[in-house]
Symmetry: C2
Subunit: 211 residues, 2 copies
């Protein structure tokens, strides 16, 4: 019954590719320029899609905004979060440290350009657009949730001491990373990020079981 499993006609395939091209171009542009300061025409030019076609696939620019947010989150989960936390046998603290390193490496690869797409959107839209704010809040909550479960599992496994309250620690990890990325973006110095991650690991070690 699912359309996805049916044999897809060339028309439907092309249609999906068009939508994909729009979202791809918009994600790239809006990551750098922000949502409000990226003109639809730029996205259209970059993706080679006409105006009418765009409004066939999306109801509005806002609609596109939610689409790129979904894409950003999906990519973050798949490329940064999942690779660290998927293997169940691994020690949890090691997974968290691996995650910190992965975020650092992502900034290095980007040459300190762009910063965190989710953080940028949060900064730009939280006080301007309630819909985006709510969506972004749930994204950060999910991210923090992933860290919280890792921390609680670490406690259950005896890696982390019992006096570690997972919620504030997870909040702090997310906040520190976001701030470090922002500072790296404005200084254009990966060394800042390296120092911050090093200090963040030192903080984390505070809760390591057996002092």
């Amino acid at each position: 019954m699912s359309a996805r499993t049916e044999i897809e006609g060339s028309r439907a395939r092309q249609s999906r590719a068009t939508r994909e091209a729009i979202v791809e171009a918009a994600t790239r542009l809006m990551h750098l320029r922000g949502y409000q300061n990226t003109a639809l025409d730029e996205v259209l030019r970059a993706s080679g899609v006409g105006k009418g076609n765009f409004y066939y696939h999306f109801r509005s620019k806002e609609d596109l905004g939610y689409a790129i947010l979904d894409r950003i989150v999906a990519r973050f989960v798949e490329r940064t979060l999942d690779p660290c936390f998927s293997e169940p046998g691994q020690p949890r603290l090691g997974q968290i440290r691996c995650f910190l390193d992965r975020v650092l490496e992502a900034q290095r690869e980007r040459n300190c350009v762009g910063g965190c797409a989710m953080g940028n959107l949060a900064s730009e839209l939280s006080d301007v657009h309630e819909g985006f704010r709510a969506r972004l809040a749930s994204v950060f909550e999910a991210w923090r949730g992933r860290l919280m479960t890792a921390l609680r599992e670490a406690q259950a496994r005896g890696e982390v001491s019992a006096d570690c309250d997972a919620e504030p620690v997870a909040h702090f990890l997310v906040a520190a990373l976001e701030g470090a990325i922002l500072l790296t973006k404005v200084t254009k110095d990966i060394g800042v990020m390296e120092q911050c991650v090093r200090e963040l690991k030192r903080y984390l070690a505070l809760y390591e079981a057996g002092r």
Copy 2:
């Protein structure tokens, strides 16, 4: 020689007041909506100043941008940084803790609205406008510098252990605060900020002399 100390004519006084009104309104609006998404007309309407008058006082919108940035920084130094670090007798670690609390209280007073004006501008403009980026980078450097000297003085006074490297620690403090403010802005929950500040203090205690 300084014009500021001369007896000011009513005309010059009015002119300065006009400029002041523009910067004041622009600062308030751009703190919430961002630089690029705040229209000049809005600023003019809010300050009750005409277009021609505006372009008498400012060369361009960009010029206004630098002016509000100066104002934001001056206000931050005078209202948040200076009150904590001005008294030379105080213990340095206490000054830093007082500063963290002050940042937290500022967010509470704002009802988690607006976030950090400098952080917002950094997020919005760092990859779009090199002039602003450079200016913002120097602002964050000055902020970090203030924390660094406090930390070094703390070491000299024996409050902080010798193995504390002031630069990365200061970087981390700034980053963690910026991230915490951002997370608070998007969640609209001051509890997030409280938790982050608490964890940040726990981190800071790592370097307290005598364990």
